[in-house]
């Protein structure tokens, strides 16, 4: 499972970086989105992968923490998703504004001279 997980992160991050370096704004947006997926899955993985384990410990009696999933990365991922999503949405607005102002979707606001 770890191998598949790591490969998924690698593929997402790799394609994200490649798209981020492209000259078109929409590609950059997609790149940022993929990178944020990779980052979020990575954070989640840092709590160790576990199947059929609850992150919530019942109060009142002593428990063995190895039988439970780590709740902290899950909370961190939620925060990171919200922040990443909001800033990406803001970026989308700026992207559209620049597209409307310059009439091109090149990140420099003008087509490169050939």
């Amino acid at each position: 499972m770890e191998i598949v997980y790591a490969l998924a992160i690698g593929v997402l991050a790799g394609s994200g970086v490649w798209l981020l370096l492209r000259p078109r704004t929409f590609q950059v947006l997609m790149g940022l989105t993929l990178l944020s997926y990779a980052t979020n899955i990575f954070i989640f993985g840092m709590g160790r992968l576990a199947l059929h384990q609850a992150p919530i410990i019942e109060a009142g009696h002593a428990v063995d923490p190895t039988l439970y999933a780590d709740p902290v990365p899950q909370a961190l991922v939620l925060t990171a998703i919200v922040i990443g999503f909001a800033t990406t949405a803001l970026f989308l607005v700026v992207l559209l504004a620049l597209r409307g102002m310059t009439g091109t979707d090149h990140v420099d606001g003008r087509e490169p001279e050939t």
Binding site: L35, T39, F42, P73, T87, L90, F91, V94, L95, G109
Partner: protein, 550 residues
Amino acid sequence: MNLLLQHLVVLPIIIPLMAGAAMLFLSEASRGARTTLALASVLAQLAIGGVLLHLTSDAAAYIWQEGVGVYAIGNWPAPFGIVLVVDRLAAVMITLGAIVSLTTLVYSISRWDRPGQPFHSLFQLLTMGLNGAFLTGDLFNLFVFFEVLLAASYGLVLRGGGVARVKAGMHYIVVNLAASFLFLIGVALIYGVAGTLNMADLAGRVAALTREDRALFDTGAAVLGVAFLIKAGSWPLNFWLPGAYSAATAPVAAMFAMMTKVGLYAVLRVGTILGADDRLGAALFYLGLATLVTGSIAMLGAKHLARLVTYSVLVSTGILLAALGLQVDALTSPVLFYLIVSVLTTAAFFMLTGMTTDRTRVADPPGEARGGSAAEISPFYVGYGIKEPSVQPDDDEEIGIPIPATIAFLGLMFVCCVLLATGLPPLPGFVAKFMLLSTALTQPPGADGSAAVWALCGAVLLSGLAGIVALSRMGMRLFWSPIARETPRLRVLEAAPLALLVALCIGMSIGTGAVTNYLDAAARSLHQPDTYIRVVLAQRGGEHAEEHAR
């Protein structure tokens, strides 16, 4: 009073948050109420900054345990909940931030804040992010406050519109978003290895790591460091900075002068708590030197005042990073002194760029673009009670050309800013650089460090020379060139904050002794993180005792 003291640490975050949120409910027409609210919030932050400065000093060490104030959010004990910690360094940074935001806010009220609703809310959220980043004792929380700060700055940098601004703003957003992902990866790696995000708790756990884990931890710390350096504007990660800073309107750029220093603060804070590595120090030194050199060359080539000031930000970042990279504990206090001076100088300089109405700005401020309304609202023609500018005396005996009062004032301020930025006596820019270099020369780092020190000295002095050349050329073009152009109007609301910042700098060079004493103590406590760690974690013991008692 006791209740206030207990919650004092969280107030610099709560006040701007509340003020910023409350403004959203005010209609666009109620400009006075919004301005009053904004000013009250910033003034309160300044007052709290002053109180924090006092409480963390030796004079009031009995109030907080060892002069470090800890606030557990939601009263969750330290390594599990998020803590806010205020020590001397945090208090200095909060006060500095409040000074810059107060002057910038007053400056912006004259004409830059219209339409005002989003500007003032975003401005308050920006100060909230700044204060939070300085206060927090938790790595992930640091990320959150960085994002609050950046989200507000994304909105502010776009103010005024125009293709150039939107383009620079977009580049700024992309680079900082990517940096945020790096930040997250670094934080996640550190959490995955050490199992905690509390900085004080981390410091204890790092020592106990096995060798394999330690390598992974160092990787996480390095990724985190890269994220901090992107925000601080270190070469080669700073190509986004000149565009964004010079395209922003003058007050926004003045606030940004504070923002690059947040990255430096993070490097300093996390570096000292986690115990810096020798390799890390060397990397910082060379990166800082490269930033310094490239910034100086760029200053020589800059054609617009705003760009020139932006490159001077890079130069100051370079000096700070290189000095930190030498890893001499005695250098931290001069570094902090230089940091304060450079923030005040850059803020003043950016304000000046907004007042010299020539082609140095990308576009006119929003107030100007909407026709004559701005002129009617603030009809203060003359700054400092002097007669109307560009008045022509009738008598023929006059020799030479009369200098309009505005130009005289702007010229004087420009000269002061140049002296400050390049480090010429008698202003504190000189004091700061002198302390930095003399400390570095008298206490070289290790046996083979003297070459590094000499390289730093040479680079700092040459960058000063480059700065003088570039700035005096710019000054001649701005103030002496014979091109017939309208004399810029001087508004009291713009002139007063600028004069105040310069006066503060002059005050700093008079009161250097008091300031350095405080900064020395701040640097000492930074390099003995045991106190910080003990106080933050001691709070856990207290809470547990309370629970057991129940």
